[in-house]
Subunit: 396 residues, 2 copies
């Protein structure tokens, strides 16, 4: 079993405490409830409450399942509880203010908890958590690199063999999922944003990649039905001279990479090639700027200022699908801090991992543009999801 | 495309308003944010805010994607907004108190919203929503019945052909998922409980079904790794004389059924047969009581009082996995209202749908016991997920 090493857990906790000192200098206590943050700090994904104290020990109070936590976790203070009441004997001083992840905690969960603590003020620890998780250690990077390798093989070698004239979009998605699971993909796709949901990714034949989509990304998606606007559509059939847009998240040991590849079932029309080529240039321009010290906000500004109105039509989403970012952090969730967008003014740091996805919708055709995952290095973004960025032509 | 009919949406909204009048007689306005509740009331799964007024019109204010909502939804008042501020022109009277789903709304989502409304008191609409969703219409039942059929074929015909000596638990889970997707399963599995997550279900070879698990269900599960305690394990190999526990959720057009089948790779030992038989008897005893007027609490009490201490060891979960319910409602989420457990005092009504899962862990073997999905009828629960409840023996 892969256990997160103790020194890695200690590093993450210390880093987080320093981030809290920096962003929330008044803090004394942070409490986490959601399983992904809890896994990050403890190495086990149990239901419970993680208390992190500025001036005292940290404790993971576990409702379910304590035995599994013991088997999986190197975290020092694992404490079984039946009720939140049991926590008081460990936490002697309850300050006025508690910092929690407001983004991931439902109101009822916090209310049930706070009956026993009566914190007067509730503040957000989200920036400090998000920032902490954005910089990946060598330990984390091994899993991210493996996800990237699976992605490269999938998109460069396997997809061209799977695409067959007459198949449905859903069947292609199904076969793709099956192949990725064979290669090591973990299955579930985790999204941090409220109401966010992906099942493998956006898998689209033709104009389905321009279909209106509630998900906060550039890609359109028809999906199965109104109740399941995900994965692939059972009525859409692959024909000759069709664009295929394959945007997937690949997960390995919890960590994701994100990659989009574009295929064409025939000879790609020149205007489609031109638009895709332009998107690849933008991707490479962004990648070059993925260096410590640059801010995501200035990268976004620099790139967008170079694009003319004609090109901006359909760029980063079809009509009302359009989004205002060029990429996003990625890790234990597909959508992590920071976005490459306005407002993200914290400078990039070495070993942040970001997906860059300049995409463009073309009327009557679908969406072109690459997506790859990069590590921030002194020499610019290092691509870890493959080398073929052009449109791949199949059955010609 | 399958569109939820207008009269069905009107029925759901009226039913909900009546439920609010019953459970929260002071209510004036309810506001919903999460996509599953929004889909239930509007027929489309967009990001936005649904305002339901006791004495006025209801409105779905849509941030993203309005065009898709128009294409999919028969809901009367679909309004595009850019900011929560835009809502004020439609909702003239803002009362002191707002009712929201506290279970599904993160603190930050509500805080961003309430900046524009300054509701003084926030109360929960969860009971009224959960109760409304628990009683299924004929329109909903068609999808549930279809999910049940897929389940029956999968468990009774397909699984016995998939199990091959020497395969890994993960590979079996992968092949099973692939077959279910072929038959019509939608892919994603949705859980309502905070921190709840399933990827298809609990698929376990041998003692992995006794493995400690954070999920609030009886079944153990090892899963892929500590970061992905889901689906199947890549190291566990199927051998002769092994128990196989296959608990899956099958989704069709948004609606789930839940079913567990038990297989044995050889001749089932008699003590395993005996324990399973006893669980089937308990299942049938519960099913017989699934009639309008009976309460889940009294069903739970009646059944549990009949079981002796010897049998209770490992019943409803191995050691610290043990749970205090015998079944649960199911619909757009796998885990819906009501649970068959203490505290659920509202009487059952016709056309509620519940999964019944009396299971028992056996030391050194794994977990036996059936699970099936039932419709509450005047004649007792009607099973919709198949007819074979015994252990199915394979490769003998």
């Amino acid at each position: 079993m892969i256990k997160t090493p103790k020194n890695e857990l200690i590093r993450r906790l210390d880093f987080f405490k320093n981030a809290m000192n920096r962003f929330e200098p008044e803090w004394e206590i942070a409490v986490l409830f959601d399983k992904i943050n809890i896994f990050y700090f403890t190495g086990t994904m149990q239901n419970g409450t993680l208390f992190i104290q500025r001036d005292g020990d940290s404790y993971f109070f576990i409702r379910r399942n304590f035995d599994r936590a013991v088997a999986e976790s190197e975290f020092e203070n694992l404490i079984p509880i039946k009720s939140f009441r049991d926590i008081h004997q460990y936490i002697k001083k309850i300050p006025e203010t508690v910092y929690i992840s407001k983004d991931s905690t439902p109101i009822s969960v916090f209310e049930r908890f706070n009956k026993y603590f009566n914190f007067k003020t509730v503040k957000s620890s989200d920036l400090a958590i998000n920032y902490t998780r954005s910089i990946k250690s060598d330990y984390e990077m091994q899993f991210i690199l493996e996800a990237g390798k699976i992605h490269q093989i999938t998109k460069e070698e396997i997809v061209p063999k799977l695409l067959v004239e007459g198949m449905t979009e859903f069947d292609f998605a199904r076969l793709l999922l099956n192949e990725m699971l064979k290669l090591g993909h973990q299955g579930i796709t985790r999204i941090k944003s409220f109401n966010g949901e992906l099942y493998l990714g956006n898998i689209c034949f033709g104009e389905n990649s321009n279909y209106f989509n509630s998900f906060d990304g550039p890609g359109g998606l028809k999906g199965v039905c109104p109740a399941v606007p995900l994965f692939g559509n059972r009525e859409t059939i692959l024909t000759k001279d069709m664009l295929v847009h394959v945007d997937t998240a690949c997960g390995y040991m919890g960590y994701y990479t994100d990659k989009t590849s574009i295929y064409f079932t025939g000879k790609t029309p020149s205007h489609v090639l031109d638009q895709h080529k332009k998107c690849v240039e933008i991707q490479n321009m962004v990648a070059e700027m993925l260096k410590p010290g640059n801010t995501p906000a200035e990268i976004y500004e620099k790139v967008m200022s170079k694009l003319d109105d004609d090109f901006l039509y359909g760029f980063m989403g079809y009509k009302s699908n359009q989004v205002k970012f060029l990429g996003h952090g990625i890790g234990l969730h597909v959508d992590e801090f920071p976005a490459i967008a306005k407002g993200f003014e914290l400078p990039l740091e070495e070993n942040m991992v970001l997906a860059v996805e300049p995409k463009k919708s073309i009327d009557g055709v679908g969406m072109v543009g690459p997506e790859n995952t990069y590590i921030v290095t002194k020499n610019g973004g290092k691509c870890i999801t493959g080398t073929i960025h052009n449109i791949i032509e199949v059955f010609i």
